[in-house]
């Protein structure tokens, strides 16, 4: 058990993530931000569209309240809500800890305890992580585990090659990725594996060209990307595909004008963002849109958004 707090140095991990040789500084910055993956839903909801109760008297973020909320949720392991979400606890840990880190309060939790629990979700025979102790491995939880260990700057506890072999072994003949041994394919898994390998500096373990070709095959006539070839364009899937292409230095495959057009049309009259045509604005799309916005800054498209 490790005692004391560890000042997170995940910034160092992000900066040293393997990016395409010859990328401009702006592109590297945008791609680095995409490596962080989805932010915490708490932070998303409360920072980007802060309801009145999340704000202090002076209109500032009530950071202490958010920290207390996260720590309380972390401790409540026996409530009904906690039990029915037990299998995705590792994802929840990533969201909560990222929030704490962004609020500079990662020391509110015991790093040693967290890391010990994370490692108890590890399957040494496969190299993957389950959503909680005793749960089957899947790339979804493996990425969250790697991200949390990055937050604490403790990738040293991992058998990095074993974890990298697990995720890279899920690449299929056509370049796509399955989420686990049972074979379901989704472009989200492409992003997750590429993100995991980038954080572990093991991108060379997959056939990057085939991975890119598969993602490009999921590009639609409207410039967006779906979950599979021919799948309906969806902001979340687009974030994953663009993120994967950014990390692999393959942004030139994107039709900037077309995709930019599609994204611009997601802004509703009242200013909010939806994820697909005809849907209502939803705060959950603000985070992926902000990340895509940062990417578009590097492509000089930012002034098209209102």
């Amino acid at each position: 058990m490790f005692t004391g707090s560890t000042r997170p140095t995940h910034r160092r991990v992000r900066d040293s993530a393997p990016l395409a040789v010859g990328d401009s500084l702006e592109r590297r910055a945008a791609a680095s931000s995409l490596l962080a993956g989805f932010g915490s839903s708490t932070l998303r909801a409360k920072l980007l569209v802060p309801p009145a109760r999340a704000m202090g008297e002076g209109g500032e973020l009530a950071a202490e309240k958010h920290v207390r909320y996260i720590v309380t949720v972390e401790k409540k392991k026996d409530s009904f809500e906690s039990l029915v979400m037990e299998h995705i606890r590792l994802n929840g840990a990533y969201w909560g800890l990222t929030t704490l880190d962004l609020l500079h309060k990662l020391d509110a939790v015991d790093a040693g305890e967290v890391i010990q629990w994370i490692m108890s979700c590890y399957h040494p025979e496969s190299g993957g992580f389950g959503g909680n102790v005793g749960h089957d491995p899947h790339v979804l939880y493996t990425l969250s585990a790697v991200q949390v260990l990055c937050l604490f700057d403790r990738l040293d506890v991992l058998d990095v090659d074993k974890v990298a072999d697990y995720v890279s072994g899920l690449q299929n003949e056509d370049g796509s990725f399955s989420g686990d041994i049972w074979g379901e394919v989704d472009t989200r898994f492409s992003y997750i594996v590429i993100c995991t390998l980038a954080l572990l500096h093991r991108l060379h373990k997959i056939n990057v060209q085939k991975a890119v070709d598969y993602i490009v095959s999921c590009k639609n006539l409207d410039g967006g990307f779906g979950a599979m070839p021919g799948g309906e364009s969806h902001a979340g899937q687009i974030f994953c595909c663009v993120g994967a292409l950014a990390i692999t230095g393959s942004l030139h495959h994107i039709d900037r004008d077309l995709l930019g057009w599609w994204l611009c049309e997601r802004q509703c009259k009242e200013g909010g963002l939806n994820g697909r045509p005809e849907k209502l604005a939803d705060v959950k799309f603000r985070c992926p849109f902000l990340k895509l916005f940062m990417f578009f800054i590097t492509l000089s498209w930012h002034h098209r958004f209102d």
């Binding site: 409207d222 309906e232 049309e265 009259k269 045509p277």
Partner: protein
């Protein structure tokens, strides 16, 4: 199996429980047990229609069945019907419609044609559901792919698709005129027109009509006429006329960008309404940053 069933009824996205069932079902092929598995999924989807793990498990079961059965048409038809029923209660359900699009790869050409025909009525009653129009686009694309089949039927297939496409354009225009300001209808038209104009351009020398006007010119004139009607709809209290004008203007911009070869012809046909820029400035001033860049 009964324990995992109880767990999944309570918590359908518990992958570990689904996996344990897959392990048992993988021991030996049993069609009855796989059918029961589909029933369990159907029951869970009745109260949790967006649950990705359940849809994924369903696909795993169907793949297993397809490994042992040549004729999947009955199963695929029932699956498609299931999605339709779920979509009725759970609108714009991305996961459900993704599943329905996935089924297309198992459909025969006749089934695809049948699906196009049968789903038209549902679409007419759900014009704001972009998913169902995306499904139609997937069916049309599947027909285009099957056109590549060699043999004596390929020419028949080609003419059949062209007739279908023309009819789809006509039907889409009817819906656009009837239901003002529906984004999903205009997005469907963007797809249809883009392919149609490119097709007309590729066969231009062979297919001029009797008056000597090219078919592309004729089609573009009709689209400008539609635009003009949409720009002149009287304002309504719901603002739908405004949205209709905006979507119509952006549609013309779409064609000019996606098929640059017809841009001069479009500009020429637009002249009575002003330039494309004038039209966009009048119809969608709020998106000026977007179209200013796209026009440049």
């Amino acid at each position: 199996m009964s324990h995992s069933k109880a767990l999944l009824i309570l918590c359908p996205d518990m992958l570990t429980a689904w996996n344990s069932r897959k392990m048992v079902l993988s021991v030996s092929y049993d069609f009855t047990k796989l059918k029961d598995e589909l029933q369990l999924c159907t029951m869970i989807l009745s109260y949790s229609p967006k649950n990705e793990s359940t849809w994924s498990h369903r696909r795993w079961v169907i793949k297993k069945v397809s490994e042992h059965h040549q004729d999947m048409s009955g199963l695929i038809e029932r699956e498609s019907l299931l999605v339709k029923e779920i979509a009725e209660k759970s609108k714009m359900n991305y996961r459900a419609w993704r599943h329905r699009c996935w089924l297309i790869s198992y459909m025969t050409r006749e089934q695809v044609l049948d699906e196009l025909k049968k789903s038209a009525r549902w679409n007419e009653l759900h014009v704001a559901d972009n998913c169902c129009f995306h499904y139609r686009r997937s069916l049309l694309l599947a027909l285009l792919d099957s056109r590549c089949i060699e043999g004596e039927n390929s020419l028949d297939y080609k003419s059949e698709v062209h007739l279908l496409w023309k009819e789809e354009l006509r039907w889409n225009e009817m819906l656009i005129r009837r239901y003002q300001g529906r984004e999903s209808l205009w997005i469907h038209r963007r797809f249809l027109s883009q392919w149609w104009v490119k097709f007309l351009l590729s066969g231009e020398e062979m297919e001029c009509c009797a008056a000597g006007i090219s078919l592309v010119d004729l089609f573009l004139s009709q689209e400008i006429y539609l635009l003009s009607d949409c720009l002149n709809v009287p304002a309504d209290e719901f603002g739908e006329a405004c949205i209709q004008a905006e979507l119509a203007a952006l549609y013309i911009l779409w064609i000019s960008k996606q098929v640059p070869a017809v841009k001069p012809q479009l500009e020429e046909r637009l002249h009575s309404l002003g330039s494309l820029e004038d039209v966009l400035a009048r119809a969608c001033p709020e998106r000026s940053r977007l179209w200013t860049h796209l026009i440049a």
